[in-house]
C-alpha cells in the first residue's frame, strides 16, 4: 500500500512540475531582454503593477474593517455574509466579470446612477480593472485576518479591555494592541491578495476589456502574445512566475514550517 501511495504521489509531483519545466525549457534565455524593451509589454507591466497595487490598497482599506466585524460583531446571518465574501474564491472569474458588468456597467443596477449622477463609468477603464481585481482578491485577505482575530480569541479581547482601562481610547487600542497582534496575518493576506490581483484574467477581460495601455494587464498580454509572438509570451510568463515565487518565498514561514 505504502509503495502504491508513494508512486502516485511521485507522479502527481511530476505532473505539477511538468508545465513549469516546459516553460523554463522553452525560455529564450539569450533574447529574454528583447520583449521587455517592447513598449506594449512595458505598458502591460505598468498597467498590471498599477492595477494590482491599487487593488491591494483597496483590499486593505475595505477588508480590514470587514474582517474585524466578521470576527467580533455578532449579527444575524453572519454565516451567510461570510459565504458571500468567500464566493469570489470559487466563482468562475468570468462569471464575476459578467456580474460586475450587470451591476456597475453603464446600464447596470448601480452603474447607471454612477454614470448619471457622478459621470463615473467603470467598464473598460483602469478603475474597472481595479474593481475586478478587488472583487476576486478581497476574500484572500479577509479570511487571513479574520482567522487571526478568531484564533487570538478571548485573550486578545482581554488585552484590549485592559488597555482600555489604562486610558487608551478604542482607536488607540486598535492601533497599539489589536493591530500588532494580527500584523503577520495582514501581511500574508495582502501578499496573497496582491498575487491573486496580479494574475487576474477572467473578470478583468469581461468587465474592463483588453485595451492596451489602459486595461491590458500582463496575463491578458501573455494570452494575446501566445498567438503572435510565443517568445514574448514566455518572457511575460516568467515575470508572473517570478512574482508568484516571490510571494511564496515571502510566506514560507507560514506555509512551509521548517520543523
Amino acid at each position: 500500500m505504502k509503495r502504491f501511495m508513494a508512486t502516485v504521489a511521485g507522479l502527481t509531483v511530476a505532473l505539477l512540475a511538468l508545465p513549469l519545466l516546459g516553460l523554463l525549457q522553452r525560455m529564450p534565455w539569450s533574447s529574454l531582454g528583447n520583449p521587455l524593451t517592447n513598449p506594449a509589454t512595458l505598458d502591460a507591466l505598468r498597467v498590471s503593477l498599477i492595477v494590482s497595487l491599487l487593488a491591494t490598497v483597496m483590499v486593505f482599506l475595505l477588508g480590514t474593517p470587514l474582517a474585524w466585524a466578521l470576527a467580533r460583531v455578532s449579527v444575524p446571518g453572519r454565516r451567510f455574509i461570510r459565504a458571500l465574501i468567500m464566493l469570489p474564491m470559487v466563482l468562475p472569474p468570468v462569471v464575476g466579470g459578467t456580474a460586475l458588468l450587470f451591476a456597475l456597467g453603464r446600464q447596470g443596477l448601480v452603474g447607471q446612477w454612477l454614470n448619471q449622477w457622478f459621470g463615473i463609468t467603470l467598464p473598460f477603464t483602469l478603475a474597472g480593472a481595479v474593481v475586478a481585481a478587488v472583487f476576486v482578491s478581497l476574500p484572500f485577505y479577509v479570511i487571513a485576518v479574520e482567522g487571526a482575530l478568531q484564533s487570538a480569541g478571548q485573550h486578545l479581547e482581554d488585552l484590549e479591555d485592559l488597555a482600555g482601562t489604562l486610558g487608551a481610547t478604542p482607536w488607540n487600542v486598535l492601533r497599539r494592541i489589536t493591530y500588532p497582534q494580527v500584523l503577520p496575518a495582514m501581511g500574508a493576506g495582502l501578499a496573497l491578495a496582491w498575487a491573486r490581483a496580479l494574475g487576474e484574467f477572467g473578470a478583468t477581460i469581461t468587465f474592463a476589456g483588453n485595451l492596451p495601455g489602459r486595461t491590458q494587464t500582463l496575463p491578458l498580454a501573455t494570452f494575446l502574445a501566445l498567438e503572435t509572438n510565443p517568445e514574448e509570451a514566455l518572457a511575460l510568463s516568467l515575470i508572473l512566475l517570478v512574482a508568484s515565487l516571490g510571494v511564496l518565498v515571502g510566506l514560507r514561514d507560514r506555509w512551509m514550517p521548517t520543523s
Partner: protein, 207 residues
C-alpha cells in the same frame, strides 16, 4: 473623601450579582469569597467592562454608571488601574513600554516604578522573558503608572516568590492617595494589606 461607592446589580446570563460598598481614598478593602461568587464581575463593573443592570457607581465623585439616567463612562475615561489575575501583559511591548502604556504615565513615574519593583534590569525585555513574579510586578507597575484613583487587584500575590510579594506589598503600602480593592483568597494577604474586609455570599456583597 470617598473615591468609590457602588450600590447596584449586574447580570450575566441567568446569574445576578448585587453589590453595596464604598472605599475612601487611601483605604484598602479586601473582598473575600469563593470562586464564582462574583468577584471578577465586581472588578469588571468598576472598570467599565460590564455595565450595571441597576443602581449607581460613583468613581472619584463622578457618576460612572447609572442605568436609570443612562450615564455610562467608558473604561478609558475612568481613573482605574486594574491588575488582573492572569496579568495580561502586552506580549509585543517591552517591560518599560508595558509600564508606560497609559497616556497618563510619565517617564519619571515609569522609572520610579521600575526601580521600586526591582525591574530595571528587565527594562528592554519582553514579558515572555519574565518569571511569574517579575510579570506580576510589571502588571502592578503598569496599573500604578496610570495614576489611578482606584486600584483593582485580583489575587495580586498568590503563588508568588517572597521577593516579589515583599516588593509588591511595599509599593502598595506607599499608595496613600489610592482607593484599593483587593480580591483575594489569601487571608494573610488580606490581613497585611487591607483596612477592612467584605465577603461575598450567594452573589451578594455587603460590607
Amino acid at each position: 473623601m470617598t473615591a468609590l461607592t457602588l450600590a447596584g446589580e449586574t447580570r450575566i446570563g441567568n446569574l445576578s450579582f448585587a453589590f453595596d460598598l464604598s472605599v475612601k481614598a487611601g483605604e484598602t478593602l479586601a473582598i473575600l469569597g469563593p470562586n464564582g461568587a462574583g468577584k471578577t464581575s465586581l472588578l469588571r463593573v468598576i472598570s467599565g467592562l460590564l455595565p450595571l443592570a441597576e443602581g449607581t457607581l460613583n468613581l472619584n465623585n463622578q457618576v460612572a454608571d447609572q442605568p436609570a439616567s443612562k450615564t455610562f463612562l467608558p473604561p478609558h475615561l475612568r481613573s482605574v488601574g486594574w491588575v488582573p489575575q492572569d496579568r495580561l501583559l502586552f506580549p509585543h511591548l517591552t517591560v518599560a513600554e508595558n509600564i508606560g502604556f497609559s497616556p497618563r504615565a510619565t517617564d519619571a513615574l515609569v522609572a520610579q516604578l521600575l526601580e521600586a519593583l526591582n525591574l530595571t534590569s528587565l527594562t528592554a525585555s519582553k514579558p515572555a522573558a519574565c518569571s511569574g513574579g517579575q510579570a506580576q510586578r510589571v502588571a502592578v507597575a503598569r496599573a500604578l503608572a496610570a495614576q489611578p484613583a482606584i486600584l483593582l487587584l485580583d489575587e495580586p500575590s498568590t503563588a508568588l516568590d517572597t521577593e516579589s510579594q515583599e516588593l509588591i506589598h511595599g509599593v502598595l503600602a506607599s499608595q496613600s492617595q489610592v482607593a484599593t480593592l483587593l480580591v483575594t483568597h489569601d487571608l494573610s494577604e488580606a490581613g497585611r494589606l487591607a483596612d477592612r474586609t467584605a465577603t461575598f455570599s450567594a452573589g451578594v456583597l455587603k460590607q
